[in-house]
Subunit: 382 residues, 2 copies
């Protein structure tokens, strides 16, 4: 719990059933930093928030069940209308309220339904309400995702992160929604760089299905007031750890996923090349189905690596699966198939591809590709 930050999550009627509307109210104005999707098609909340998020904010409204994307000017206007209705209920200006949405693309928000629900959302908010909020932003997630950290400066501080995300998860970047709150007083200018880097090292290092959402949003809310510079490093460490753990929760809860694979590409001439190879392997459906089948199918890994559009000298390549080196000099080191299959039958899979051609490296987390991914996504809208 953070003093002065109140949460609620209610069933407003956006979805046929279940929590779907989350509200966060800050007793005092907070600073905010935001990072949005790189998709060229951006949801209404991103277009709207960009007008607001230059200054301090007093509230955040986040909903599931409707992405409010591809809804034209009307979709942005809907948010302005909701903000005007919420403002008097929480004693804030309409221009101090941010929004975030996740759900089906192309449908307008049911504005009247939401406005009718706002008094209830406002009335039920409390400092201990984070779990309700976390549940209200879930779509295909199987559980709420919350991470807490604390650290000491002149006083005790907290960092609390909450995220949702399960499908349409792709690096650059990789969540639908993640919000981090702290009572640590720090200005956006001071922390911006560390925040951006931490997002790069967390949400931009996971993928579920290679799909980049129109709605991806990460927000960091920090306290205003006199800074506590002595604790800045402790804060950035905590922030990094919260974002990393949230992103790992997202990839572990990837749609239909039964395993998470850590793809490490090493010994590459340029970091940019290592990244391309790691990302290419991480979205390869043949590699991901092999993980599902506990199949030590290194041929698919090497074929994906070769298709990354960067140089690969096959005769130097080494591949290590679950700690066992099974490829050296680009050819197989004979291994016990049954034993390797058993080793692959774990929740965590480790893949190291070493090109032995330089010093750069890159790593990323991905999931296996399973029947349940198909099941979830062949029927999600219906």
């Amino acid at each position: 719990m953070i003093k002065g930050i109140e949460f609620s999550g209610i069933a407003s009627g956006i979805k046929p059933a279940g929590l779907d509307l989350g509200l966060v109210v800050f007793k005092e104005e907070m600073n905010v930093l935001t990072i949005y999707t790189r998709n060229r098609v951006k949801a209404a909340h991103i277009l709207y928030d960009r007008r607001v998020d230059k200054g301090p904010v007093r509230a955040l409204v986040a909903n599931s069940g409707c992405a409010n994307a591809c809804t034209g000017k009307e979709g942005v206007g809907d948010l302005a209308e909701i903000a005007r209705s919420l403002a008097p209920l929480i004693g804030a200006g309409a221009g101090d309220i941010l929004f975030a949405s996740t759900g089906v693309i192309g449908r307008r928000l049911p504005v009247d339904t939401i406005i009718s629900a706002l008094p209830g959302a406002s009335r039920t908010r409390k400092e201990s309400g984070l779990e309700d909020f976390a549940r209200a932003i879930m779509t295909t997630d199987t559980h709420p995702k919350i991470v807490r950290e604390s650290f000491r400066g002149k006083k005790d501080y907290s960092i609390v992160g909450v995220a949702k995300g399960s499908g349409m998860i792709n690096p650059l970047f990789a969540t639908m929604l993640a919000f981090v709150f702290t009572d640590f007083p720090v200005s956006p200018d001071v922390i911006k760089r560390a925040f951006t880097q931490s997002v790069r090292d967390s949400f931009e290092r996971i993928t579920v299905d290679g799909e980049c959402s129109t709605n991806d949003t990460v927000m960091l809310f920090t306290k205003r007031g006199e800074e506590d510079r002595g604790a800045l490093e402790a804060f950035t460490d905590g922030l990094r750890s919260v974002l990393k753990e949230l992103s790992m929760m997202v990839v572990r809860d990837g749609e239909g996923a039964t395993r998470v694979a850590h793809i490490m590409v090493e010994g590459v001439k340029k970091k940019e090349w290592a990244e391309k190879i790691a990302r290419r392997i991480s979205i390869s459906p043949l590699t991901k189905t092999a993980f599902f089948g506990c199949d030590p199918n290194w041929g698919r890994i090497i074929a994906a690596a070769g298709d990354a559009g960067v140089p690969v000298n096959l005769s130097k390549v080494e591949i290590t699966l679950q700690g066992e080196m099974i490829v050296k000099g680009g050819v197989e080191i004979p291994f016990d198939e049954a034993k390797m299959k058993k080793l692959m039958n774990r929740k965590e899979i480790s893949v190291i591809v070493n090109l032995n051609d330089g010093k750069a490296s890159f790593d990323i987390y991905t999931t296996d590709l399973t029947y349940d991914y198909i099941k979830i996504n062949a029927s999600y809208r219906s």
Copy 2:
């Protein structure tokens, strides 16, 4: 049937059961043109053939069950050994024999097994043996893929194409193996450009799973001798049509596929941008699972388009599904959900994305993503 071109397909023992070794013998030397995978990791047959395919050829050996990729210098040496054994059986030089392989990556060819089988393969060859050959190169294909065309010049000519491919199919390019034979006399120099363009318009316009194989190979074998220039256009038309039809057979037989979707992107400023958007949509797992679920989920199509890394002005976008325009000005035109679901429940799906922002266009064929793709690929090696 083409006079002087003999085919056989036998069960040599590379696979535990079934036809796995195909042989083509040309009574007279033929010219050959080849196009190989853009994957940086290339199978042994590509490295080997490149030495041979500068001059005329007398035979082609193609096998399934073993890709002979990532097998080092030894994998290339194995082919030289097989060529030396085959040469006297067919009265050719060892240097006039080409190879092509498809199957599991990383395993060496069982050279002794193959050499023992060569006399049988040679003995059973006949002009009517194409179907056996076509079956011998199948992996996860559900049926052999053969296309025939004929045309008239100074005399009657034939074009016969054969292909295999079902998974690891991706544009740029997109089959495991395809071979085209003709008794039309034409030199490689004259036909090279039309051949390359025809492959671009066929095999490079399909995708099943976005995976680019280490073994992709297209070969065109043409007769030598006095040219028949008057019939050149009829030949290139026939060639184009054979390659297009073969590529459509491959995508329709995509692993686990129940539908083929034709993705047409129009009204784009640059052709290169149209291509990027079309290709991005064609590999989107969320779009492909929606096709499987007969879901007119245009939001996923537009999200994929926005993620292609090229400009998209959402407010001008139109989307037409199965002939029904359901998005205009970037927002939905309300439609009858049940009726659209019914329209989507067909073997062929048509998607038109019009950016209304220029005159360039690009189209590509892709499959749906189904339970059976997972089933086939989570267990293929075992």
